[in-house]
Symmetry: C2
Subunit: 315 residues, 2 copies
């Protein structure tokens, strides 16, 4: 028998289907005798409950969906660690789908997840329009991580990139640096420079004539905006013959796996923690059973991991 059903188990154990159902769900009100008979029969038959059928009948599945905007983003893997942890802790299974980095695909994946009628949906770094998220939330509990969404019925958990920038700068200032530059591979993003200038100002520093780092500049420290930029920064500094952290200190905003291996000092949102909080919010919302609670809005402060690319300035 390829896939024995509840009925097969019942027949073999000589009991009714309902009894088997109770046993499978670990109900306490079944006699030890019969329970064991049922378990034995199920085991011998290699019985596995059909989740679809269960979900259909019960009206809930015990599963939550996770939509990853882009599997290539190493951040997602860390977020997922937190997500999975919290879900496991609360006995909820996770099903993932990927947006493949493209809004169109993401939209499609969202639709499929919605059609599965899972108990809830967690959107990780969604790139689709807020209105679409809102619409999804109308039919299913939704939480978002990694992107602020202002909506009454969506919980959302985010990091704080401005705070991260500020943390990087203040740390460098503590170390004695006064001429700090910023590096951004995705250059032209005005927000990065803006945030950088604000952080500088907050630390009581005036930006140099040029905010961005350039070889031969006077900067004694560099803040790299993003993981890719960070790796590139390291390479560039080395190529320029600069000793790190002897001559130049480097702080990277973001915490890709490579950073730890290479001993790069980083400031980043604690991804797993974001994930955990988002999942907690989602499960709470599911638990509330649609008590149209106000959307929870959580911002998590960044974490500094001081490794080997930063040092005190020694004139």
């Amino acid at each position: 028998m390829a896939h024995p059903t509840l009925e097969d188990v019942a027949a073999r154990a000589g009991v009714s289907r309902a009894l088997v159902s109770l046993v499978m769900r670990g109900s306490p009100k079944v006699g030890k005798e019969r329970r064991e008979a049922v378990l034995k029969a199920a085991d011998e038959l290699g019985y596995r409950p059909n989740i679809m059928a269960r979900g259909l009948a019960a009206g809930r599945t015990g599963m939550a969906g996770v939509l990853a905007a882009d599997l290539h983003d190493p951040l997602f893997a860390s977020v997922h660690d937190g997500l999975a942890d919290e879900a496991a802790r609360r006995g909820v299974r996770l099903l993932l789908a990927s947006g493949g980095g493209r809004p169109a695909r993401e939209r499609a994946a969202l639709g499929e997840l919605l059609d599965l009628r899972l108990d809830g949906l967690l959107l990780a770094g969604p790139r689709i329009a807020a209105a679409e998220i809102e619409r999804a939330a109308a039919g299913c509990p939704v939480a978002v991580v990694g992107r602020p969404v202002r909506s009454s019925r969506v919980d959302c958990v985010t990091g704080d990139d401005a705070a991260a920038m500020a943390r990087a700068v203040t740390r460098l200032v503590e170390l004695g640096h006064r001429r700090i530059a910023c590096m951004d591979l995705g250059s032209g993003r005005p927000r990065v420079q803006q945030v950088f200038k604000a952080a500088l100002a907050e630390a009581g520093l005036a930006p140099d004539q040029d905010v961005l780092w350039r070889p031969g500049g006077a900067a004694t420290a560099v803040v790299a905006a993003g993981d890719a930029t960070g790796t590139a920064a390291l390479t560039t500094l080395h190529r320029a013959g600069l000793d790190v952290p002897g001559e130049v200190s480097l702080v990277v905003l973001g915490d890709a796996p490579g950073a730890e291996v290479n001993g790069v000092t980083t400031v980043a949102a604690p991804a797993a923690e974001l994930g955990r909080l988002a999942m907690a919010a989602l499960l709470d919302r599911i638990g509330d059973g649609g008590a149209a609670r106000e959307g929870r809005r959580v911002t998590v402060p960044p974490v500094l991991a001081e490794r080997a690319t930063t040092g005190a300035i020694t004139p």
Copy 2:
């Protein structure tokens, strides 16, 4: 109405449920008139088919499961690109689950995926025992990517690390290198050194007294076994004051995203292609409808991406 059903649509359109079902699945044998009425009603109601119910009734879901051993492995994201592409091309939806890098979790995730009764299962780089994979394959079409599994009913698609090593070495030899060293952060893996020696021998070179790279050695080229090792190698070489590729050439086995950004020459299995082939094998198997075909075994040759860390030797 939170989730209108087929029946609601039928009522609104003034037809029977069966007719709506036909329309929703795009059957050609429905009059234009009625079809449009149904579509209109469905749209107005915001109807979305319930996949669980559909799967239960139809006996197939139109979905395949993908079990990722470890989401942190950037390789998986690339494999998934290929997977998703092929699945989309053939009209199959994908549902992912993660093994979280731990065999125990992976086993659990496999069970959940199995319980969903999807049409097929794709295991990406599984770490669980071959026997467990075999067992899963008894109840559901299964294909494996990234790990060789010899089984009559499992298709599997893998890269070829020995060939990758050989490709790296022959390329370096073409460039004039004769003293080539190997670097392996996960040191102690005997297989790596063994494969390296074999590649050297094949290229007509004798290994130096010591196979592994060491600062101050005479090697003019280094092969780094793995992405992490590659990044570390680059840093180490730079720290040692060596010009790359002026004094030392570097080839990394593996193709993490950072490699391209940093212009590192790599040799790696074409991950997306592996994914595509594995998904194709799985869908073929599903299509065969359990015609206990012999397991397909595909090995894909590695690809050299020559970037900026390799150069001809100029004595």
